[in-house]
Structures are given as structure tokens and as C-alpha cells.
């Protein structure tokens, strides 16, 4: 599962029958990452931090094994600190501090 931030809703009137009328949302993993589209069975608002599943779990999470989703939102995060650094960013921060001290 990965953490995404909801960017906006997405309207696609001409769609395959299998997608039904499920809500589609544009989500972004980081501000610099490319935008992706996720199925939303939960009911999120733009700006929410959410957990999403990929691979075949995305089909099950959207309601049925046949549902054609490769990314489905499974929960809204109650509290999330946007500034929480990832492992690579943490390393960069340490290096930056070290250089600053020198």
C-alpha cells in the first residue's frame, strides 16, 4: 500500500462498461511525482491523504475480482505529517547538516 494525496475528481463519460459509475480521483504520491488515477469506493475529498492498493488487490478492493482497477483507495488517513521525510530524503538532510557544520 502507498500513501497518496487526492488532487481532484476526474470525469470520464465515455468509459468501458466494467468501470461502472465508481468515482475516479486524480492522486499524487509526492508533489514531484506524476499524477495517477485511482478508484474511490471510500468517498474522499481533494486534499485528503489516503492509502491505496495496487496489483490484483486493487480489483478486489474495488468490490469484485473482475473490476478493472489497478489502483484503489482503501482508506483515508486521519493524521499525516506531510513533512515526514522518506529514507532517501532523511539521508540528504543528514548530509546537508554535515556540510553546514563544516
Amino acid at each position: 500500500m502507498r500513501i497518496f494525496r487526492v488532487d481532484s475528481t476526474l470525469v470520464a463519460t465515455a468509459r468501458i462498461g466494467g468501470l461502472d459509475s465508481h468515482r475516479l480521483l486524480v492522486v499524487q504520491e509526492r508533489a514531484s511525482a506524476s499524477k495517477q488515477v485511482a478508484v474511490d469506493p471510500v468517498g474522499c475529498k481533494p486534499g485528503d491523504w489516503v492509502i491505496a492498493v495496487g496489483s490484483s488487490a486493487a480489483r478486489d478492493a474495488a468490490g469484485s475480482k473482475e473490476y478493472p482497477s489497478d489502483l484503489t483507495i482503501v482508506g483515508i488517513i486521519d493524521y499525516w505529517d506531510e513533512a515526514t521525510p522518506g529514507p532517501s530524503e532523511r539521508r540528504t538532510a543528514k548530509t546537508a547538516n554535515g556540510e553546514a557544520r563544516r
Binding site: 465515455a14 468509459r15 466494467g18 468501470l19 499524477k35 495517477q36 485511482a38 495496487g54 480489483r59 478493472p68
Partner: protein, 86 residues
């Protein structure tokens, strides 16, 4: 799912039977990388589309026996190049 733009049609007459007689399109992502997607919707060049990957692509094609790993799921009503690249 990803947001991609249809670049052109793709004709491949000699193909494996498991691809059936499905239409193929060349799609590009926001940095210009090209991929081939199966198109059950009928998208035109220039349309912004939602593409479905991995095993869900086979279900999106309408029959899980179809051997695709990228299928167009829908045409986006309103989208712009600026939003795509930002």
C-alpha cells in the same frame, strides 16, 4: 491508472490469437514515452485517456483471456496539457 494521450492508431494484422481483433493505439505519457494500449472505447488521436495496467488491463478488455497489459478505460472529459505536466 494513468493519464495518457492517444498519439495514433496502430495496425498489426499478424498477431497472436489471444489479442483477438481488438483496436490498438499508441499512447504517450507526460514525458513523451510511448506505449501500446488496447482500446475498447474508441479514442481518437489527441484524446486524454485513463489507461489501466497490470492484470486489471485484461479485465478492462472485457475478457480476462485477452493478453494485454495496458487497456484504455475511458476518455477524460476535461483535461489540459498544463495539468498533465504539472
Amino acid at each position: 491508472m494513468n493519464i495518457q494521450r492517444v498519439r495514433s492508431d496502430l495496425v498489426a494484422t499478424y498477431r497472436v490469437p489471444s489479442l483477438a481483433e481488438k483496436s490498438l493505439r499508441v499512447v504517450e505519457d507526460h514525458s513523451g514515452n510511448l506505449e501500446v494500449a488496447l482500446d475498447p472505447v474508441g479514442a481518437k488521436p489527441g484524446d486524454f485517456v485513463i489507461t489501466i495496467g497490470i492484470s486489471a488491463a485484461r479485465f478492462a478488455a472485457g475478457d480476462p483471456r485477452i493478453t494485454t497489459d495496458l487497456t484504455i478505460g475511458g476518455i477524460i472529459d476535461h483535461w489540459s496539457e498544463e495539468r498533465w505536466r504539472s
